[in-house]
Symmetry: C2
Subunit: 143 residues, 2 copies
DNA sequence: ATTACTGCAAAGGATTTGCATGTGA
DNA sequence: TCACATGCAAATCCTTTGCAGTAAT
């Protein structure tokens, strides 16, 4: 199954560029990963399916897909991670114990951002934050 | 003037390691920078004062100082930045327009973190967050 | 028929490592 | 003294780039 509901091909063509098998496979790979993926993970998936595809194509395509606003990037612990762009801004909770990745809505943080704006006059524009810590399961199961 | 109030030398020796001129100069360089510094900035400062010091020493020392809990690292826009470890956790507001770096206390975010814990059972342990956006000055002075 | 896109290989930059020498305790 | 640290140079890793060939529209 592919990502056809969103018709990424149309979105790309509308902006005057081309849909290619490589771009499709890379979009698939990012979709399949569910949450955050790294360049290496994407490349591995891709390479299993189409060994000829080059690493530089992965880099170039990820950059391209970001410009198309189909993919967004973030940083977790010095690592660059990618995911399919959502309509709404959202954030992530990353469990340091088990590695789980929980997605949360912007709402949990709007109040905090509003407080910062009130106190410091600073308009927070972060729309893809990663908070680290310990998830429920890991807290209830002490090592 | 150096950073003697904190007596970093003692802290290092207490853990069974040695204070050296290089480590002292690197600590000084991080102190002088005020807030966040990069490897390059540190190296430049250092090189001006002691041209013989090697880049790899800077890398090794920064890693060492992190293990000693004298320095902490964070990521801003893909760049690794360092600063002197504070007693209390705190966060930063990084202006994308002018590059200003505003330090804020943990308090502004504790409510948000508590809400996340309530809703998701997730204990946020992030103690050095960087929020990007636009600072007061830049918002009041439209380009 | 165009011209965007890809693969390849090489370049580039940042960081790490091995080893001999130097130095703090 | 002697293990810890440093300098140096080479190795390594990740990412980018130039170019010629390929393929999407």
């Amino acid at each position: 199954m592919t990502h056809t509901q969103h018709d990424y091909a149309a979105a790309i063509r509308k902006q005057g560029f081309r849909m290619t098998p490589q771009r499709e496979m890379i979009l698939d790979a990012v979709c399949e990963a569910g949450g955050h993926t790294t360049v290496d993970e994407i490349y591995s998936r891709l390479h299993a399916r189409a060994p000829a595809v080059n690493r530089s194509t992965v880099y170039r395509t990820l950059e391209f897909l970001q410009e198309m606003h189909l993919v967004v990037a973030a940083e977790i612990g010095g690592q660059c991670v990618y995911e399919i762009a959502h309509a709404q801004p959202h954030h992530h909770l990353h469990c340091l114990v088990c590695g789980a990745n929980i997605e949360i809505s912007q709402e949990a943080l709007v109040a905090a951002f509003a407080a910062i704006e009130r106190e410091h006059g600073f308009a927070v524009a972060t729309d893809h934050l990663v908070l680290t810590g310990a998830c429920r399961a890991c807290r209830e199961t002490p090592a």
